[in-house]
């Protein structure tokens, strides 16, 4: 563009309008880069694979207030009844529910307490041999525990000797080695890992170094408040859920069924805050871009009105319509680029602040670059309309004396 130098000089001489636009573009770029990045980060978090058929699994709590019942026997009866229900693939009593935000965790060690040892924090689930199938997760090595290996905890005298663990946990405890057959310690109790699970997320999706590490313990220890997990055939979950309260009540009436919820709903509750943040950010950047685009549009219109005489003169002196359009596009681009340079620096700075004060990962440069390009394109779009209007200004305005 031949015209850059005089346009640039002209801008320097009447700075106010340009500075205003520059500031808007800079702030918009800084905000949108970071917001888009945070959105992507949240999306990854929300969409991470969990290993479960979430739409086919549901849970419910049982609060038993009757005292004339042996809980372990009752759990067995309940499980048999549930498994016999049409549409149910498997059902099991379990001590915690994945993706729900509630459960138990502890450090699993290479040596028993009180010896000094490496300890890796993981979630654990106490359940019987139907647990694996109800969860619907896959073993990549070894086998499930047998009915005989399940410990029924009547007096806390016995403890399981085997367990299933996720690959992520075993890789952390025994890096580079095959986890199958290894022994890990829960406190001072040894557990031989007879099966390794591929992908399985624990109750706390947010805790980065715990979410992939879980242990399934063959232990049945139902308290007054215990939970059941049920997996149904596809499309049949709603109909099964409807029958649960009555079925459980028929089996034994002195108890309350509560929190009868699908696993996908539990997860949605757990991630609700992050989903909300993401939505708010999307709204924020949309409105921000719109406001900035309108700002460019409005300010360019103003500039054109202010310079009507000048535009007419240029046309009189021989400027083609395209030259007038390119004048405004170039002028706008100069401001935009200056604003983008400022905005890119601002984006990086803002990213650093967010990273150091809040647990946001480091801003990826790709997002800054893409945002800058998008803002530039948006500014071009916003300026084209007014620029074309300018080009249509009659050259005879130059000779008017008003």
């Amino acid at each position: 563009m031949l015209e850059i130098k005089p346009i640039f000089n002209a801008l320097l001489r009447s700075k106010v309008g340009a500075v205003l636009l520059l500031i808007q573009i800079a702030i918009t770029t800084a905000i949108v880069s970071n917001a888009a990045f945070i959105i992507k980060d949240r999306l990854d978090y929300l969409n991470q694979p969990t290993g479960y058929e979430e739409e086919n699994i549901f849970k419910f709590n049982v609060m038993t207030f009757g005292t004339d019942v042996d809980l372990i026997q009752q759990v067995d009866l309940d499980e048999q009844m549930l498994r016999a229900m049409p549409g149910v693939v498997d059902a099991v009593q379990i001590s915690a529910v994945p993706l729900s935000g509630g459960g138990s965790s502890t450090g699993f060690r290479l040596k028993p307490v009180p010896e000094k040892s490496k300890s890796v924090n993981a979630s654990y689930f106490e359940t019987d041999e139907h647990g694996l199938n109800t969860l619907g997760v896959n073993l990549i090595a070894g086998r499930n525990f047998t009915e005989g290996e399940v410990v029924l905890n009547r007096d806390y005298s016995k403890f399981p000797k085997v367990a299933l663990a996720t690959k992520a946990l075993m890789d952390d405890l025994y890096p580079g080695e095959d986890g199958l057959g290894k022994v890990i310690y829960m406190g001072d109790k040894p557990l031989k890992i007879i099966g390794v699970i591929g992908m399985m997320k624990g109750p706390w999706l947010k805790i980065e170094n715990r979410k992939d590490k879980s242990v399934l313990l063959p232990l049945v220890d139902p308290r007054k408040l215990h939970q059941f997990l049920v997996r149904t055939e596809p499309e049949r979950r709603a109909e099964v859920m409807k029958q649960i309260e009555n079925a459980m009540h028929t089996n034994y009436s002195k108890r309350v069924i509560q929190d009868l919820t699908g696993l996908d709903v539990k997860k949605a509750d757990y991630v609700a805050e992050d989903r909300l943040m993401m939505r708010m950010l999307v709204i924020l950047i949309s409105v921000l871009v719109l406001v900035t685009a309108l700002g460019i549009f409005g300010l360019t219109l103003f500039n054109i009105n202010k310079r009507t005489k000048q535009i007419g003169t240029r046309r009189a002196l021989g400027a083609r319509k395209s030259a007038i359009i390119s004048y405004f596009v170039v002028e706008n681009s100069l401001i935009c680029i200056a604003g983008l340079i400022l905005g890119v620096c601002g984006a990086v700075l803002l990213g650093q602040q967010l990273m150091s004060h809040y647990s946001v990962p480091a801003l990826s440069n790709l997002y800054v670059a893409v945002t800058a390009i998008a803002v530039f394109l948006m500014s071009l779009l916003a300026v084209i309309g007014p620029a074309r209007r300018a080009a249509n200004i009659d050259p005879s305005i130059a000779t008017r004396t008003i």
């Binding site: 309008g17 609700a272 909300l276």
Partner: protein, 437 residues
């Protein structure tokens, strides 16, 4: 003169309806978004009990061995052991103290009148009602004798009373918590709180409990917590008594100290207590560590206002800045285009100050309209937030102070944005614009 300026401003708006509308919308949206995040932030960080938030203190004791750490900012555990809770509660001190724990039962009447339901229950020592300002409608708290003898009594909220008995006058009635029969000794108004400051362990914004039972029932009836139990060393727990004797943390403790000297007395007591326990082999750290935090300190220690909220507030204000830059530009355009009219006014005798003031009034009116639009936009935003998260029901709201703040911010922001254009336009030489050229 002021009303004349209002009239002029209104006419000016009407003359350029599109630009004026654009500006009002820009400021309205900016204010609306800012107020949405600001309102949530405000509710989250509001003092939940301003009358005595500086007199109630949460107690923390560092009973872990040297080298053990916790995930709190200063590595102090958030809760206390049973042993420490019981000891502090029974100590011979003149201060009101509350030991607390969250649990739950199936609530029923052992008949078919009311279907059994699950209800969270708060185990509390008797001073708690007084300390946390919970007013009784009927009856009162259980007596010292009832507390020490672990009598099966309960204080319930008005809603639960109505649900179980159809009336709030239910003192003397009995109901069942699981298989334990309890008698109602008092009915309180529903405890309305935005922030469950006394127990932030499982959801800061969940609702407080509706049923309260004496602290002594924990031991007597082996009632376990529905909250968090955290341990820092390996302690096998086979029977409930093991848990009562262990170093695991599962209870909350609050003390009421009315001035600095009372605080010093209590702190001295804690030092002494730790020294005594040291002799029994506990509190192995060389230096005794404990902490007393009042309500607001406790809330900020727990970082109840989470990062996301703070980020949104910051981003919202940046967005407002963009809207203001926008408006500044539009105002410049608008005012400078009107310069000829200003020239005429000046020629007819208006002083610079009068011209300036006229434009500031116009800008202020813009802010007022924008503020109103902003409130509407904020209400829509807050409604959206309430839809997405149930516990935001109480939080995502604008109280009176926020409703006043909205137009205030709008008007101030517009005036700041309008200072430069108004100054520019009142400084132009009248003659320049009177010529027909």
């Amino acid at each position: 003169m002021f009303s004349h300026y209002i009239d002029l401003s209104w006419r000016s708006f009407k003359r350029t309806p599109l630009v004026s509308l654009l500006m009002v919308i820009a400021i309205g949206v900016g204010i609306g978004i800012t107020m949405t995040s600001l309102s949530v932030y405000h509710m989250m960080s509001m003092d939940p009990i301003p009358e005595k938030s500086d007199k109630l203190f949460a107690v923390q004791l560092q009973s872990m061995d040297e080298g053990e750490s916790w995930w709190s900012p200063d590595s102090m555990p958030y809760q206390l052991t049973y042993r420490d809770t019981e000891n502090l509660l029974n100590a011979d001190l003149p201060f009101k103290r509350a030991a607390l724990m969250k649990t739950g039962f199936s609530v029923h009447l052992n008949s078919d009148k009311v279907k059994p339901f699950l209800e969270q229950t708060r185990v509390a020592s008797r001073d708690a009602f007084d300390m946390f300002n919970l007013p009784f409608i009927n009856g009162g708290v259980w007596s010292k004798e009832q507390e020490s003898s672990a009598a099966p009594v309960a204080v319930i909220s008005q809603s639960i009373s109505k649900k179980l008995f159809g009336t709030s006058n239910s003192v003397g009635e009995t109901f069942y918590l699981d298989d334990l029969s309890v008698r109602v000794v008092g009915v309180i108004e529903d405890w309305k709180l935005h922030i469950k400051y006394f127990d932030l362990n499982n959801g800061s914004f969940n609702k407080p409990e509706h049923i309260f039972i004496p602290f002594s029932l924990i031991k007597a009836n082996e009632i376990d917590t529905w909250g968090n139990t955290n341990g820092w060393k390996h302690e096998p727990v086979k029977v409930f008594n093991d848990k009562l004797q262990s170093e695991k943390f599962w209870l909350q403790f609050w003390v009421e100290l009315n001035n600095a000297s009372e605080k010093r007395v209590f702190e001295a007591y804690l030092e002494n207590y730790i020294a005594e326990e040291k002799k029994a082999g506990r509190f192995t750290r060389e230096k005794a560590e404990y902490k007393l935090r009042d309500v607001n300190q406790w809330i900020s220690y727990w970082e109840v206002v989470n990062e996301d909220n703070k980020i949104m507030v910051a981003l919202s204000f940046m967005f407002l800045a963009v809207c203001l830059a926008n408006i500044l530009g539009l105002l410049l355009a608008k005012f400078l285009r009107r310069a000829p009219e200003v020239g005429v006014r000046r020629a007819l005798g208006a002083s610079k100050k009068q011209v300036f003031f006229q434009h500031i009034v116009e800008v202020g009116m813009l802010g007022l309209f924008g503020g109103v639009i902003g409130i509407i936009v904020a209400q829509v935003g807050l409604f959206g937030i309430r839809q997405s998260l149930s516990y935001y029901d109480a939080l995502a709201n604008m109280d009176i102070s926020m409703l006043m703040t909205a137009p205030l911010i709008a008007i101030s922001a517009c005036i700041i944005a309008g200072l430069y254009p108004a100054w520019l336009v009142c400084n132009t030489t009248p003659a320049t614009y009177l010529k027909t050229q």
